[in-house]
Amino acid sequence: MSTQTKNGYMLIFRGTDWHNGLSPEQMQQVASQWMAWFKRLTAEGKVVAGNPLEREGKIVSGKNGKIVADGPFAESKEAIGGYFLLKVDSLDEAVAIAQECPGLPYGARVEVRPVMDQCALSGEALPETQLAEATA
């Protein structure tokens, strides 16, 4: 599978409580850096969408989705705080943008994922003849 894509990349910001324990001065600095970063990337046309997420949510699972649990938990290092959709041409460029994330020095992590044309289910799981049948 190629990691080059014309569909862009998704940056997923992980870690939602990294700002706990920062001094007001540090918080002011990181808030300022984050806003400037987002404004610049938007002005450059590199960020085309994005959302911060409220901390609480639900996890739906089980047959027919009968299990509805609270989550993710904010103290989890993996909890997702928000995302950007990037319009850039290569994974390297997307990674370079991720490396500028102002939350990194405080323990935030950024997952960089190529956006695909079609779901892996249709792209990989079915031979083409069956795919044509299923989507007919």
């Binding site: 599978m1 894509t5 998704m10 997923i12 939602t16 700002h19 007001p24 918080m27 002011q28 600095q29 808030a31 300022s32 984050w34 806003m35 969408a49 959302n51 911060p52 997420l53 409220e54 901390r55 609480e56 949510g57 639900k58 996890i59 739906v60 699972s61 047959k63 027919n64 989705g65 009968k66 509805v68 993710p72 997702i80 705080g81 928000g82 995302y83 994974l91 997307a94 990674v95 991720a98 490396q99 994330c101 990194l104 992590r109 950024v110 997952e111 960089v112 994922r113 190529p114 956006v115 079609q118 779901c119 892996a120 289910l121 799981a125 079915l126 069956q130 795919l131 299923a134 989507t135």
Partner: protein, 137 residues
């Protein structure tokens, strides 16, 4: 903080389709297609994209650690997302519950898109008005 009434559904699961028969796969694809069509027709689907299984995870001070990942075999790996217009989290949960692939072990995380980043809201709480205004300028 006023919400936008937009919910992000994150689809989590390893390659849950492994082991399905061709018939099961075909049926599932039709169900998934139908599910998307219904969401589109009802005007609730704002955006949806699948993600490639490979990517990178950037961490460390100044982002110097760039690791391969996430790993496709992880049960938690995100396979794609749907951005949904819904009036309440219960409505969004209802949509998640109707996802045809849950029975194969996939999980759906349901999250409200925030009007203001909770980190910024935290900054607003702990900073004076002048400090916050200076940061936001």
């Amino acid at each position: 903080m006023d919400a936008k009434n937009e919910y992000l559904l994150l689809f989590r699961g390893k390659d849950w389709w492994n082991g399905l028969s061709p018939e099961e796969l075909r049926n599932t694809m039709e169900q998934v297609q139908g599910w998307f069509n219904q969401l589109t027709e009802s005007g609730r689907l704002k955006a949806a994209q699948p993600l490639a299984r490979e990517g990178a995870v950037v961490s460390g001070k100044n982002g110097t650690i760039v690791a391969d990942g996430p790993f496709a075999e992880s049960k938690e790996v995100i396979g794609g997302y749907v951005l949904l217009q819904a009036n309440s989290i219960d409505e969004a949960i209802g949509v998640a519950q109707s996802c045809p692939t849950l029975k194969f072990g996939m999980q759906v995380e349901v999250r409200l898109a925030a009007e203001e980043c909770p980190s910024m809201a935290y900054a607003r709480r702990i900073l004076s008005e002048e400090q916050f205004a200076a940061a936001a300028a």
